[in-house]
Amino acid sequence: MRLASLGSAPVPGAANGLSPLRILCERSTCAKSLLRRGLRNQHASRVRYPEMILAADLIKRYGHKEVLRGLSLEARPGEITILVGENGAGKSTTMRILAGLAAPDGGSAAIGGHHIVQAKLSAQRALSYLPQNPDFHPRLTCLQLLNFYARLRGVKKARIDFVLKEVGLTSVREERAGALSGGMRQRLGIALLLLPDAPVLLLDEPGLSLDPAWRNRLQAILLEEAARAKTILMATHLIAEWNAVAQRCLLCHAGRIERELDPNDLPNDFDMLAKRGAAAPGSACASHAREDAFAFTNFSSATHVKDRFGEAPKPAGEGARAPRAL
């Protein structure tokens, strides 16, 4: 199977009645070996790999409230994919499901080919997650916390020094977590994210407590990680900051991926995004929206990902393009 064809090819075995999960797992064996090769490849970012994160038709309810209504997405190694949307759009819930912290009420999700519910520990071995506002045992020092997580993930102690240096916390390594400022806690969270060197990184609003300098540093770190063929999925509503940094930008709205945006032309806020989406024909905003539509929409993450799980794709609407070639 050629690498370039993995993304858009019909799912092998779907016609033979194989379950989507089994198809996915068979793919993952290929994906893992490719990824291992990719990590050794200095030009990893130029190579296309199969998706490391797949979610199809995710549904999540809290009581009577349906937070996710059939959300589907995919993310590939070597790319920073950002998930944007207003408060309550379902970004954090999606991240929690992918991290194995919440079970979906419907749909499927897989990390590195491992089903996030049925093979949760295998999926979690392939990922590292930074929650929104990470908090820690207040009585433990930064070093004790890093040692603990290093033991859990089987990481060598030498990497602890490396990640502490990466996030500029070497001087406070013996400080208790309870005494750290919000920004320092966030940086400790980033250190823990990087610690296991996992192939998939999930970040939920990582920039909120960081000052501009550290937000820039975080972008640089993530770009380095992406260049090492990591799959990075990040939820944020600081949209404009990720202009020209992310490779893909998915707009989450009302529990679904509404469309894919041009990652090089992200607006400053959601009002602007809404204006673009609802602009009158002929206006500048409408022209933006059309460009989005031409280049990225009907991205139909949903249609595409359903196809990967073995369902037939829906026919594209008028003026729609086929999903972006992988």
């Binding site: 919440a102 929650p131 004790q144």
Partner: protein
């Protein structure tokens, strides 16, 4: 291969155990407990008129003081890093390993700290089997109360609710059950089933501990109580029964806590 598998499955437990030991050293409940345990141990040694009186004083401390502190320590430990759970439970370890590590660490810590309560008495008496057994049973009681505290802490939504839940359960076990039995004793038709009373007491680990100590350590003549075969059996095996019922309660409480943790969602 099996050795490496065993090592892998124990790694998370030992990592949690080490973390809990680090955290416990700085836990105020624990620091206060250490000081009071030492003071209690010295007090029991000094106040005992005869060498045999020291274990009886320690018994009272074990029943009312060790059990309560073990419960508070368990609850405090369960809630200590609840804000960290999203990060912790995104790691590839079973949540039961987290619970097992916490429980084992707290029991190990109590095993050491209880020495502060027991060692001073050795200046006035010898470490005979009865005294060592009292230490073992006190540790078992502490382990049961740690399990109760962990269960209350994990079931609760916050630390205060956990403490209220845990202390309520402890009060029920130490006073409430006996109060219910006392009130029920006024009902004449219940007097026809003496085994009912025995079972009621047997199922409560604190009562089982009390009975064990009174009839075994104090060597109270128990002929008056030997009315049925069940009470006969119990009074012949008070220590065995106490350990058994404590282990059963521990398993049940940890299973409930583990189930709750397994289904916990951020």
């Amino acid at each position: 291969m099996s050795a490496s598998l065993g090592k892998t499955s124990l790694d998370p437990v030992s990592a949690v155990l080490t973390r809990e030991l680090h955290a416990a050293i700085l836990n105020r409940y624990f620091q206060v407990f250490c000081v009071l345990a030492l003071a209690g141990g010295i007090g029991a040694a000094l106040l005992a008129d005869t060498p045999d009186a020291a274990p009886m004083l320690i018994l009272q401390l074990a029943l009312y003081f060790v059990s309560l502190f073990a419960l508070l320590t368990g609850t405090s430990s369960a809630r200590a890093e609840s804000q960290e759970w999203p990060l912790l439970f995104a790691q590839p370890i079973p949540r039961s390993a987290f619970l097992a590590g916490k429980f084992l660490a707290l029991v190990a810590i109590f095993a050491g700290v209880l020495a502060l309560l027991f060692l001073p008495a050795l200046f006035v008496r010898q470490a005979d089997p009865a005294f060592l057994l009292l230490y073992g049973h006190t540790l078992t009681l502490a382990a049961g109360c740690v399990a109760l505290g962990l269960c209350a802490g994990f079931l609760a939504r916050d630390r205060v609710q956990g403490l209220v839940l845990g202390v309520s359960a402890w009060l029920l076990a130490i006073l409430g059950a006996d109060l219910v039995a006392l009130l029920a004793a006024r009902l004449s038709f219940l007097q026809r089933w003496p085994d009912l009373w025995a079972v009621f007491l047997m199922l409560n680990p604190l009562d089982a501990f009390r009975i064990d100590a009174l009839f075994w350590l104090e060597r109270i003549p128990a002929e008056a109580a030997r009315e049925t075969s069940l009470t006969n059996w119990w009074l012949d095996h008070t220590g065995l029964w106490f350990v058994t019922i404590s282990l059963l309660w521990m398993a049940a409480l940890l299973a409930v806590a583990g189930r709750h943790l397994r289904h916990w969602e951020d």
